[in-house]
């Protein structure tokens, strides 16, 4: 096994399981759509809440996406093969996360203009929303996989992952929505974006190693 062959296999698997990605996207769209219907369809309210609505829906969708990320690998013995491959386990985990992140993020960004229009998000804030997604979602995936690896051998691990991981998602939600609100108010938002980048970088450094420890424990 090489890192390249591993990554190719991961992309092939994502393509063959594209229904999983579509399901997560549909969930995201439905969750966002419910707000104008269930809370208020007033353009003023929606414009001010759009960032928060989109981010909360995205966090739930990402939790859905990462929760079962290693389940199939655990069942078919791939996790054991990763451990004994002689390759760096954190690097393999990172490659898997990158593949999953791209598979989720690209279609998500594709539907973002439609959802922003629906929620009357000001055009000036739209690109800030996109930037918060680009800078914030890596940390959500990287933190999420730690929970996914810890609960991989449990049959009903979804709720446990949510309880374990959701508190760590809160800073990302807070700084993302603050950046969008600051952009709407024509205030500087680079500080919030810098914090989102810092959180993603910190997760990038820590998460693959913590996930590797959890996977080794699960594989044994």
């Amino acid at each position: 096994m090489t890192y390249t062959s591993f990554l190719v296999s991961e992309f092939l698997l994502i393509w063959r399981r594209k229904q999983d990605v579509i399901n997560v996207l549909l969930f995201f769209i439905i969750a966002v759509t419910l707000f104008p219907i269930g809370v208020s369809s007033s353009p003023e309210f929606l414009a001010s809440a759009a960032g928060g609505i989109i981010w909360c829906a995205a966090v739930l969708a990402i939790l859905m996406a990462v929760e079962g990320m290693f389940k199939e690998d655990f069942r078919d013995g791939s996790l054991e093969q990763w451990v004994v491959s002689g390759l760096s386990l954190p690097a393999l985990i990172l490659l898997k996360v990158v593949a999953q992140w791209l598979a989720f993020l690209l279609p998500l960004l594709g539907i973002m203009p439609l959802l922003s229009e629906m929620l009357f998000l000001p055009e000036s804030s739209f690109w800030v929303l996109i930037m918060t997604f680009l800078l914030g979602t890596p940390s959500l995936f990287l933190i999420g996989v730690i929970g996914a690896a810890l609960t991989v051998s449990l049959r009903q691990g979804a709720m446990l992952v949510m309880l374990l991981i959701l508190p760590f998602y809160l800073p990302v939600i807070i700084f993302s929505t603050l950046a969008i609100q600051a952009a709407e108010a024509n205030l500087p938002y680079s500080g919030q974006l810098a914090l989102l980048s810092a959180m993603s970088l910190l997760s990038l450094v820590i998460s693959p190693f913590m996930t590797a420890i959890a996977i080794k424990a699960s594989a044994s």
């Binding site: 190719v8 296999s9 698997l13 199939e72 078919d76 013995g77 791939s78 054991e80 044994s220």
Partner: protein, 204 residues
């Protein structure tokens, strides 16, 4: 393949849950040998292979591979070993060729075809693995044994689900491997027909 390798295990103590699987277990093997680990169900044969390859850690003991102490860091051993366990690490949603290429990316199409023909999988080369039988799935995993240059093979029940022809083929492949300097440690309850091996008993 290396000219000569050796594996020495001494004073191994494996615990699973609250149960001691083996205590103070020792054996050594070297190139040209097939070592069959014998023991009752639950005696710890699979766990022993997992300990050797580094999936699980022993409570005590020392593992030396080709003169190097790999007890704390199995990487030197892993670089030179293939481990095929009960769950074989084959992806249901990849084709036979894609699965093999994940583990053996440098294999040429001609070599792949030849090996798959031997294993009676050539007709299924582009079939998703989920459409194959259990025996065929195991053959997909075992195809790696024909395609890699690793010296140490750790095989957990490699003959399970295989038909008579495939068992004979695998025994022949193992024999060829050890005669060219390889070392094989396997567990099986199967009577080996043509393969001469050294038995090591794992007593509970």
């Amino acid at each position: 393949m290396q000219s000569s390798v050796s594996l020495t295990i001494s004073g191994l103590w494996i615990e699973r849950g609250e149960r001691d699987l083996c205590k103070d277990f020792s054996f050594s093997a070297q190139s040209g040998e097939v070592v069959r680990i014998l023991g009752e169900n639950g005696a710890g044969k699979s766990s022993l292979l997992k300990v050797i390859v580094g999936v699980i850690s022993p409570l005590e003991g020392k593992i030396v591979y080709s003169g190097e102490d790999v007890t704390l860091d199995r990487n030197p051993l892993q670089q030179d070993a293939i481990y095929i366990g009960h769950s074989v690490g084959v992806k249901n949603l990849l084709t036979v060729a894609e699965n093999i290429r994940c583990y053996c990316p440098d294999v040429s199409p001609e070599t792949l075809d030849t090996v798959l023909k031997q294993l009676d999988l050539l007709d299924h080369i582009d079939a998703l693995v989920r459409t194959l039988s259990a025996g065929q799935l195991r053959r997909v995993a075992l195809a790696r044994l024909w395609l890699t240059e690793k010296t140490l093979w750790l095989l957990d029940e490699p003959f399970a689900s295989l038909d008579v022809g495939a068992i004979a083929l695998l025994e022949e492949r193992i024999q060829l491997h050890v005669s060219s300097g390889g070392l094989v440690v396997l567990t099986t309850h199967q009577d080996l027909r043509s393969l001469s091996c050294r038995d090591v008993a794992l007593l509970s």
